[in-house]
């Protein structure tokens, strides 16, 4: 019995580490002078293959999911269940004419999609997609992630400015203002995690969470500060990646497509790709910080390989993004800013305080409940107060209507 169990665990371990083992094997079996090349290729190629593949899958999922939310079928003509739709889309966008406006700044216009895609790819360098599966072992991985993320703003600006289109310029200004504003709560909400974990390395943060009490994991989302932080982080992430309800930079009903209105064909596809890559990256980071990264949700489920867990969580996050997109209208620019500075920022700061309190309260048997209550109160009370402030400041209320008297 025990033997079988050990064998099963060993097998699970082997499957879990299959990519790592393969990587190791491939590198050690290449001749010395080429090793660096092989090891780099083994890092870069999977990222370049897997995440654009996920992008292709997501475009179908999003369209089908939105369709179902809206009581439609969604694409179902190309291939089984419409799964080959992205291939058709890719062929279409590749064969489409690449229109560059006559007055556009050619070089910048050309470079913008390249910059945005390359920065989007760079962010995956520090994302642990499985046990021991991370491209670059950076000690300051989180810092790297945010530094790279901030470079996309420049690319957005390049796209918006070089197109010489009023809509695209407006879109770019919106996008940059929004990205800068929401970067603050994004980083602040992850600081809470950094404080508790005591490290900037995503790998270590995941390892910290991949422990179990009984069968339950130590994910940060199961703490008051972690839960609030997770919501704040994902809200900021939605804004950072221009997802609904914060998709103002490309609000098609107002400024048509925002900063990439003058892009067509493959360049447009690149923007599209970059946008989704950013969503995956930032969702992946959210998973890493709060949802235990690649760790299994219950201890006995750890037999399922860690990378499957990571991608499963990622798909769930994508699903939530699609769901939100199918439900909500878009905010206005000033409301967006108000929300960022008057709600998200204070909440993120309070969340940091809460994390500090959590860290220093003792963890004894009696204290478990008390600590929970204290920290929950630290979050909920300001939440209610801030929400009140937001609503009353702009007199938003559900109205009761009267009817004309008969006469």
């Amino acid at each position: 019995m025990n033997g079988y169990f050990a064998m099963a665990t060993g097998l699970a371990e082997r499957v879990d580490q299959i990519f790592v083992t393969f990587d190791h094997w491939a590198v050690t079996n290449t001749p010395e002078p080429l090793r660096w090349l092989v090891s780099i290729l083994l890092i870069v190629v999977p990222i370049l293959a897997v995440f654009p593949g996920l992008f292709a899958l997501t475009t179908v999922l999003e369209r089908k999911g939105l369709g179902r939310i809206q009581n439609r079928y969604g694409p179902n003509r190309v291939g089984p269940y419409g799964l080959l739709q992205p291939i058709a889309d890719a062929v279409k966008s590749l064969t489409k004419e690449d229109v560059v406006p006559r007055t556009a700044d050619g070089v910048v216009h050309y470079l913008a999609p390249l910059v945005i895609v390359s920065t989007a790819f760079l962010a995956y360098a520090v994302l642990p997609v499985g046990r021991n599966m991370i491209a670059v072992h950076l000690d300051a991985g989180l810092l790297f992630f945010f530094a790279i993320g901030s470079a996309t703003e420049l690319a957005v600006f390049m796209a918006g400015w070089s197109s010489r289109n009023k809509y695209s310029l407006l879109g770019a200004m919106r996008a940059i203002a929004q990205m800068i504003s929401y970067e603050v709560p994004l980083i602040l909400s992850s600081i809470a995690v950094i404080m508790i974990a005591g490290t900037l390395s995503p790998e270590k943060i995941v390892l910290e969470q991949a422990q179990y009490t009984g069968i339950f994991p130590h994910w940060y989302v199961f703490t008051p500060w972690g839960f609030a932080g997770f919501l704040l982080f994902m809200t900021a992430a939605a804004a950072e990646t221009n997802r609904s309800p914060f998709d103002l930079p490309e609000g098609e009903s107002e400024i048509i497509a925002g900063y990439f209105v003058e892009y067509s064909g493959f360049k447009f596809a690149l923007f599209f790709l970059a946008e989704y890559l950013e969503i995956f990256a930032v969702s992946g980071l959210g998973i890493t910080l709060f949802l235990g990264g690649w760790s299994a949700p219950l201890s006995f489920l750890a037999v399922i390989p860690s990378w499957i867990w990571f991608f499963a969580k990622l798909l769930v996050m994508i699903g939530v993004f699609i769901w939100v997109r199918g439900t909500m209208p878009r905010l206005r620019m000033d409301q967006l800013m108000n929300f960022a500075w008057k709600f998200m920022l204070p909440m993120a700061l309070i969340d940091m305080v809460c994390a500090g309190v959590w860290r220093f309260l003792p963890g004894g048997a009696l204290w478990v409940v008390l600590r929970w209550l204290i920290c929950a109160a630290i979050i909920v009370v300001p939440y209610v107060a801030l929400a009140r402030g937001l609503e009353q400041g702009r007199k938003i209320e559900q109205r009761v209507y009267r009817y004309a008297e008969e006469g």
Partner: protein, 213 residues
């Protein structure tokens, strides 16, 4: 509280998401070329000309009266009257259209031509898969394309066709009865005339071979 309405909305969309898999009422889309909704009896698209019997030329009901041409709001009908006449279904000599064209790129499917036609000659079709790559010729329908047998009409608008057919049968019967009556009257008249002739003959004494008819 902030977020309450948003959560409610999310629940609603989730219900619809699930509902679209289980509830036919929520998923009204029809997968068109494979699946088709049956068109209601009253559905209309573009007009066509009716003919009785097998020969579209001989059986065409249109008598080239130009009423539809005049009443057509976008004026998409063009008729040229024949110089000779041919008998209609009751046997009356009528003109027929030498040319009857409908420009369906102009037609707005309003059915007024059908309403105003006193001869039940024009009716609305239900056929809607009419795309063509010839903008001009392909959308200008001539008598040949327009003429369709009465059986077709009975197929696409059964109730309406039954009513029309009944009315026409009644009309035919009446006409026939009238004709019979007329014939009878004529026969009676003839008989009378014959009688008179007889009498005259008798009176005149002049012998003549009279048809006994």
């Amino acid at each position: 509280m902030l977020g309450e309405g948003i959560v409610k909305g999310l629940i609603e969309t989730a219900r619809n998401f699930v509902g679209s898999y289980v509830d036919k009422d929520r998923l009204v889309t029809v997968q068109y070329p494979e699946e088709r909704n049956p068109l209601p009896e009253a559905a209309r698209n573009f007009p066509f000309l009716l003919y009785d019997g097998d020969d579209p030329e001989a059986g065409l009901r249109c008598v080239s009266c130009h009423i539809c041409e005049k009443e057509c709001p976008p004026r998409c009908i063009h008729i040229e009257k024949s110089t000779d006449k041919k008998p209609d279904f009751v046997g009356k000599q009528q003109f027929y259209p030498k040319v009857f064209n409908i420009d369906v790129s102009v037609c707005m499917s309003c059915q007024i031509c059908v309403e105003v036609c006193p001869f039940d000659a024009i009716r609305m079709d239900k056929e809607f898969e009419l795309s063509t790559d010839d903008r001009f010729g392909g959308l200008l329908w001539t008598k040949k394309e327009l003429a369709k047998p009465n059986e077709y009409y009975q197929k696409i608008h059964p109730m309406e066709a039954a009513e029309t057919d009944a009315r026409r049968a009644e009309e035919l019967k009446q006409t026939q009865a009238k004709a019979a009556a007329a014939a009878a009257a004529a026969a009676a008249k003839a008989a009378e005339a014959a009688k008179a002739a007889e009498a005259a003959k008798a009176g005149n004494g002049a012998a003549g071979k009279e048809p006994s008819a």
